[in-house]
Structure formats: structure tokens, C-alpha cells
Amino acid sequence: MVSRSGRVWGLIADQARLRGGLISATDACAAAVAAVEVTGAWLSAARNAEAGYLIAATNGVSERLAELELTLGEGPSLDAATAGAPVLASDLAAAEYGWRWPTFAQAALAAGPVAIFVFPLRIGAIRAGVLGMYREKPGSLSAIQLGDALTVAEIATLLLLGIDGNGHNGADSGTGPGGQPPDLARHRAEIDQATGMLTEQLSTSIDDAFVQLRAYAYSRDLRLIDVARDIVARRLRLYPSAGSPLDGDT
């Protein structure tokens, strides 16, 4: 788990180095190709259950796939965004997908892709977008590839929500080695509950509440999980404020 996340972060950092910029969600998209061994990948950002707008594509075919879904109004990204579940379509030529996306499946096959895997970028009710990948040969992802794809998607979600690998930009300060965001899954629940509580305390949306929670921890150099626990235990309340930095109270 830790080694997998470290390896994937390494691939993403390689992409940022190649590009010569700070680590961003674009690099996660590019790293997906090597990490998951797919032909191409694309990344769309969206705050609700739609396909969203394309922010990265590793090649023309990936871009074409994203565009097709927008044009046709059907396809795996839309399904992944709506259901909040990954779509693992290992063979677009199978009857199942002909039924599911009558126009998209045909058009995608004509463009080259045969297998498409799309991962919703979500943290519960917080929606960031989708990460899509394709191959020109049919077949499921192996268990290892699926694990890597989920890891890339998890990191892409954090990057899209404004947490970068360098710890900048309102990053979570409960970081692991090398400034990496922590494995959120391990202490998920308190962070999720605190985020929900903040929607009420700050009268704001769930995605903004998450941003504010992280900003509070970052600006005070506290661990995200500690701040979350204090909020859940009602030792800490945050109040809406006109400007930043946020003011909290104990």
C-alpha cells in the first residue's frame, strides 16, 4: 500500500520533471499510461454528475474519446460520474456495451480503443472529475494494474482539489515522507465527519468545507487528522470569516 503509493507518486513526479513544473493533476493523467500500462489517458474536471471539461489528454485518441462523450451524451465517463463507480469496460465489442452505449461504443471502436476504464474522482459527496484510460486490445486490468489505477485516481483527486505533492497550496500538513499527502483511507471517517460538520458551521458546500478544513490545518501546521478529531469531539469550531486566514476557536 505505502510502497504502491510511493511508486505511483514517483511516476507522477517524473512527469512533472519532464514538463518542468510543479506537480499537478495533469501529471497524474500522464503517469497513468506507464503505471497502468494503457495506451492513453484523459482527465476531466467536474463538480457535479457530468462528464466535465477536459483538462488533460495524453494523445489525440484520448481527447477524441472525451469529446465523443460530450457530443453523444453517453459513455463510460458519464456513467462513472453519475454512479460514482468505476466503469471497467474490458471489451467494447461485447454486446453488453453495444446495449449500454449504442452510439459511443461504435464510435470509440472506430477510433481505435477496445477497452476503456474510467474512474470517478470522488471523496464521498465531493466530486472532482473522472480519470479515463483506454487500450487497443480487449481484456481486464490485472489486480495490480487495477490497484495502481485506483491509486493514480486517488492522487489525481487530491491534486484536482488543490493538494499538490509539494505540500503547497493549502496542502494537508499531516503529510507522509517526502511531503506526500497521507494515506487518507486509514483515518478516513473523522475527516469525513468533520468535513460534513463544517458544511453547517461555515454554511458552505461539501467541497469548500474540505478545502477550509485543510486550509485551517495547513495554516497552523497541524495534522489534518488532529484538526478533524477536535472538530468531531466538538473541542474546535470554525467560523465563517470574510477573509483568510480562517479564525478558529477552541
Binding site: G124, A125, G147, A189, D192, G196, M197, T199, E200
Partner: protein
């Protein structure tokens, strides 16, 4: 053991073929019925995600949920041993288990639990998770109860793996990821509701679930709609079903058929 409730429970645990099956709700039925039927104080359930990483997906109480999380965070405890070995793991007196699980044994006793049993969720070679049963008093767990508990875990596992044409692992993986994300949404909704009404997390969860059940909605859909603001849940504080619901659009679709509510005393 309540025979009537037991047979109803087994029926519930095979009832996964409905169009709007909700994994989280289903697994909560398993933990709740474990407490009602097996003479245990609390139950928690861990499932492995597609990466083999265990996640807490259901618990009969916040205390049990936190204790499951504690095991994951500290990488030690009966649920992990059970998942890794695929065998039931039991500790009849946690005060003597400081060597086996130094941190877990202490945390469990602080929470008020004295004995624990972990049962594997397995089908043939595949172990998908583990069910943890906690008791407040030390002593051996009732062997009949444990057999029933394992039978419930087995039936639930089979039902989960066969849910909705689980033809291949792709479908199972899609399903698991959805369930894990629903779990996150439900925690967010619990936080929002707890803050709004001044409740603790257990109360918030029960309120959400009772509301979903009484209105025949999927728990995860209701949680999502509540966070989005399309489902205000006004009046959820008042008892007796005096609920009013605003919102101009129908935020969540009704379930096709009702799941049995909390058990009622027999005639």
C-alpha cells in the same frame, strides 16, 4: 435466540437481487442482526478494497466502528489476523491478550469490551473481509451463537459475491469501490446532520438510516442528497414521523421494494 428474527435475517441476507441494492445498508443489517441475535454488545465489519486494503464498511455502533479503525491504523487486532489467515480468531478475555495485540487489547478494554471474536467473510479461497463481534463481559462466546454468526457471514458473503450478475471480478470491483465511496458519503452526511441537530454520530447515523427506511430510499442516495442540499431532512429531530420535506425536485428515487425495518416483537 429469537428463531423468527433469525429466519428473517437469513432472508434479508440473501435479498441482494433488488435493482437498487445498497451494499452499505446490507452490511449494516449484518452487524445489527449480529448484535440482536448473538448475545454480543457490538459488531464491526471490514472489507478489502480491490487493492487488498481493509476498510471499515459497517458497524453496529460508533464505538465498534472506531475500534475497527483503530485496528487498521495500528495494523494489529483480531479482525486483521482473521482476514489474513481466513480463520476465525477468538479472545475470551482481552485483559490477558496484551502480548498478542498490545495496543488493540488496551483500546478495546478502554472502550468497554472484554472479549472478541472475528469471523472470516470467505467463499472458498477468497477472503473478502471479516466480521468482528465484541462483548462487554469476558468468557467464552456461546458456540451455537458463533456457528450462527459464521453462517450469517457466509450467507452475506455469497450474496455479495453473486450480487447482480457478478460474472467477473470487474463487476465486483466496481461494486466494492461504489460501496467504499458510499461509506465516505455517509460519514460526511452524519457529520452534517450531527452538527445541524446537535447529535452524536451514532444518533445521526440512526436518524439517517431510519429516515431512509421509513421513506423507502437508499441510504447512500439519501446521504448524497442531504449533502447536496436537495434533501433538507427538515423535521428529522422530531420523533413520531412528523417529518416535512422541502425541496422542489424529487432528490432520490424510491426503492423498488421495502427492506424489513427494525425487528418488531413477535405477537
Amino acid at each position: 435466540m429469537d428463531g423468527q428474527l433469525l429466519s428473517e435475517t437469513f432472508v434479508e441476507l440473501t435479498d441482494t437481487m433488488v435493482a437498487d441494492f445498497d451494499v452499505i445498508d446490507f452490511l449494516h443489517v449484518l452487524t445489527d442482526r449480529s448484535v440482536q441475535l448473538l448475545d454480543v454488545s457490538a459488531a464491526g465489519l471490514l472489507l478489502a478494497d480491490p487493492r487488498g486494503e481493509l476498510r471499515v464498511v459497517a458497524a453496529s455502533s460508533e464505538a465498534a466502528r472506531l475500534l475497527e479503525l483503530f485496528q487498521l491504523q495500528n495494523d494489529e487486532g483480531p479482525c486483521l489476523d482473521c482476514f489474513r489467515s481466513g480463520q476465525a480468531v477468538s479472545a475470551t478475555d482481552l485483559s490477558t491478550e496484551a502480548e498478542r495485540w498490545p495496543r488493540f487489547a488496551e483500546a478495546a478494554q478502554e472502550t468497554g469490551f472484554a472479549a472478541v471474536q472475528a469471523l472470516p467473510m470467505r467463499l472458498r479461497d477468497q477472503v473478502i473481509g471479516a466480521l468482528n463481534l465484541f462483548r462487554a463481559t469476558p468468557g467464552p462466546l456461546d458456540p451455537v451463537g458463533m456457528r450462527v454468526g459464521q453462517a450469517m457471514a457466509d450467507v452475506a458473503t455469497i450474496s455479495l459475491l453473486q450480487e447482480r450478475n457478478m460474472r467477473h471480478t470487474d463487476a465486483l470491483n466496481e461494486q466494492l469501490q461504489t460501496a467504499l465511496n458510499s461509506r465516505v458519503t455517509i460519514e460526511q452526511a452524519k457529520g452534517k446532520l450531527a452538527e445541524r441537530l446537535g447529535l452524536d454520530m451514532d444518533q445521526a447515523f440512526n436518524l439517517l438510516r431510519d429516515n431512509a427506511r421509513s421513506r423507502n430510499l437508499r441510504l447512500s442516495d439519501l446521504a448524497q442528497a442531504f449533502i447536496d442540499g436537495s434533501e433538507p431532512l427538515i423535521g428529522t429531530a422530531s420523533a413520531g414521523g412528523q417529518q416535512t420535506f422541502g425541496g422542489s425536485r424529487a432528490p432520490v428515487r424510491p426503492r423498488r421494494r421495502p427492506r424489513p425495518g427494525p425487528p418488531k416483537p413477535g405477537p
